[in-house]
Amino acid sequence: MQRLIPLVYGELRQLAARQLRDERPDHTLSPTSLVHEAFLKLTGNTPVSWESRSHFFGVAAQAMRRILVDHARRRTAQKRGRQHQITLDTAAQDALPTSSDDILGVDEALERLALLDARQARVVELRYFVGLSIEETAEVIGTSIATVKRDWMVARAWLQRELSPAG
């Protein structure tokens, strides 16, 4: 599992680049199609067992999460800038929540959720970072649709609570 991640990570990045370099003027980056394409590319035409397909999506979700978190980290870092200029107010711009912070916030919150319930954290990874449907998620995890639905609901509510400033 661990050894597969760098491979899938690299593949996803390349695919993202290629997809966006394509001729079509209007397309956008869809994580789901990226992951599907990466899967096809890595497995080729060889028939793949159901287990390894699920396994792959699990790994891809982690890789996707890492790609997004890396971008967000880099961004937050650059926002702090390389200059030495600082601002007066401790009411500083740094305190502003941004989407980069959101990604990082979700990432951190997921670490904590994984301690409570690893499956619920995986459901979030697959739904939010890869964009799988409830059904696809259930298939990948190997559990019922009802369970995924319930896990997703509670995990969403939990994230909302963890990420709200008043938290």
Partner: protein, 828 residues
Amino acid sequence: MSMTNDPGRWERVTEAFGRLSDLSTTERAAALKVLATTDAAIHDDVASLLLSNDAVGDRFDQPIFAADPAEFDQPSLSGRRIGPYVIIREIGRGGMGAVWEAQRADDQYQKRVAIKMVAMGRDTESMLRRFRVERELLARLAHGNIATLLDGGVTEEGQPWFAMEYVEGEPITTWCASHKLNVRQRVELFRQVCAAAQYAHEHLVVHRDVKPGNILVATDGTVKLLDFGVAKLTESDGADGGLTGTAGVALTAAYASPEQLRGESVSTASDIYSLGVVLYELLTGTRPFSSVPDALLERTANPPSRAVTSEAVIAMGGDGVRQIAQAIEGDLDAVVLMALRPQPERRYRSVQQLSDDLQRALDGHQVSARPDTLGYRFATLVRRNRAAAMLAAVSLLALVGATVVSFREAAAARAERDRAVLETARTRQVTQFFQEVLSSARPDRQGGNVTIVQAIDSAIARTDTAFADQPDLRAALKLTLGATLANMFLYKPAKPLLEDALRLRRTLDGDTPSMDKVDALFNLAAIEAEVGDAGRAESLYRASLTMRGKLTPGDSSKIYEGLGNVAEAQLNQGKLVEAVALYDTVARALDRLRPGDIELRAVTHTNLGTAMSQLGRYVDAEPVLRDALRLSEQAKGPNDVSVGTVLQPLAGTLIFTGKYAEAEQLARRAVAIDEKEFGRSNPATLSVLRMVTGAMIEEGHCNEALPLIHEMLALRGKVMAETDPTLGVALLQQGQCQAAAGDLVGSEASLRDALAVRIATFGEKHWAVAQVQSMLGEVLGRQKRDIEAEQLLRAGLAGLSAGLAPGHIRTVQAQLRLDAFLKARRRS
């Protein structure tokens, strides 16, 4: 919610949550009551999760990247009636939905319109409400270069639609090609696009999806910009509801700014970036980046003059690549690259500036755009074809050269001639290595492009195998490459290289000081400061500086300059007192050692004064900031932005030292500078404007302050996000003035609003929240609502004492408010 060691607990929470979330509100309340008795341990947790569940909306329903346009495919609607219109045919389809040609069903003139159905993930109540608000805003845009929004509504199925002026025309790119426009004509045409964008920005509308498909040229040559502000409507309903946040937008990736791709705040600067991409394409026939990750990684584009394609040659008719490149080279290069800067704040401040600069470039006058600074220029080494690979190599060698200087310094310091000779030989070998790596990079079969990043990747791989028997050279390679990458913000690959370099050097010569170790440590410290831990950054900076001091005892000014970084790292750890002491030492030392380096001294003094002010040492901060102001003016002239950066803390400090009139006057000066630079309705300008009003209120001039406060508050939800610190301040000031005028009800409302905003901005435990609590307590006390008043006054005082330095004036004011309240209560 506490994490207990109760193993089955979370399962029970999940189960109960699942069961209760399906119930109606009344049933739920009853079930919660039951839960309180059957499983009290999880009751609170479940109750708060249910509340969060109500609040979450569709926040996580869209995956974090942009949505797939395929999801928005819609069936044909020909012949259908939408509002007063009848659909004739589909004319286009994009990420946001489809566009149809239609005409009014009751119109004898058969006026044609374009109808756009906006695809929305969910037609929630709040979304539709926002849709109506936006429609009003857009309908007010009336400009000859903007396709007018005529009408809009919601279909029976609840899907929003727009009717727009039907423009018969071609996208600007194809129009330029079919009319074989030359460079000048293209730029002139493009300035019409700028006029439209500037007009919309002045009306607080950001386009968000500028691309050739949205810029049509009508048969008479008039440019029409379509879909202004429409992109915003497809956003998922963000928690803030303001102008920020684009998660879920199906934006057009190739023209989107880096901040849009990351799903961050979108501003007028984002439109300027997209305009830059369009102009780039008009001039060269190609887009600045071949892939979105390039834009995301904040690389800098090739100058357009070096990107002119054969397609452009054909499209411009007649002129060859060289003539076109010559027409672009220099001024137009600089203008385009300035619009395309990865950091929004470093682009043009307004479309007007961009447009003016284009005119200057056409007239042969000097443009205001400047080539990027050295530090940023390294980032331009993005993509080169084979022919240009050597060019990249040369630029990288310039960087290698910079490191070479420090090798020489080290050598000279030790004054060992033999060693110096060896250093030179070593330098030559390192240089040669990079030359080989870079020139051996070959175009790959697919894209025809070779990236310097690929070259660097291969260089990284080879640093482990090259010079297998010469660890000395291997260390030098890793150091050079690591430092180069760190300069390009590529911290992740840089860090292990620098660590390897350090380890190799230590294996070779133990702890003997060397310039290589100094460089490795310093770069590692800088990386920690950027993306790691400020504490580790501080100790690495110190290690590097200590060693440097041993190597070059004569040059202490460099050490002091580095100590400025140490102070910054301390500041980031919240070690305010230590940071101030160190900044103080640095400022004094640099005044003495580098009297001529005015700019460096100005920055150091500004930081010292600002940190003192943060610490509440206003009396000490004042003269320091006055020095900083004088130095900044001397370095950059009286109206430079950097002067504004000093004026802001100085004005803020003077408010606390009681020099209100001067504070007001300085803050006004800062407003004038920022206004010229960023525009009036810009968060940066507003952050100084609030100091003007703050000083006025202290002087007792609420009547003068109020119009300005209202001006700020009117921008709420427009340029000012809910979490903008200025919003909290403006609300608080409004509350102060209302209380002063005896309007206690109004004041309470303003202060409660301010409280909510500040909690959202800073979190509940911040002193800024406590400050509002204390003021609100005072207002409630005056209404004789004693219990809540006392609670707030005490909470405010406690929060301020905890969050600010002892004896801070804000804490003292809160203490005085509490005392006055208690005294008044005893009397009554």
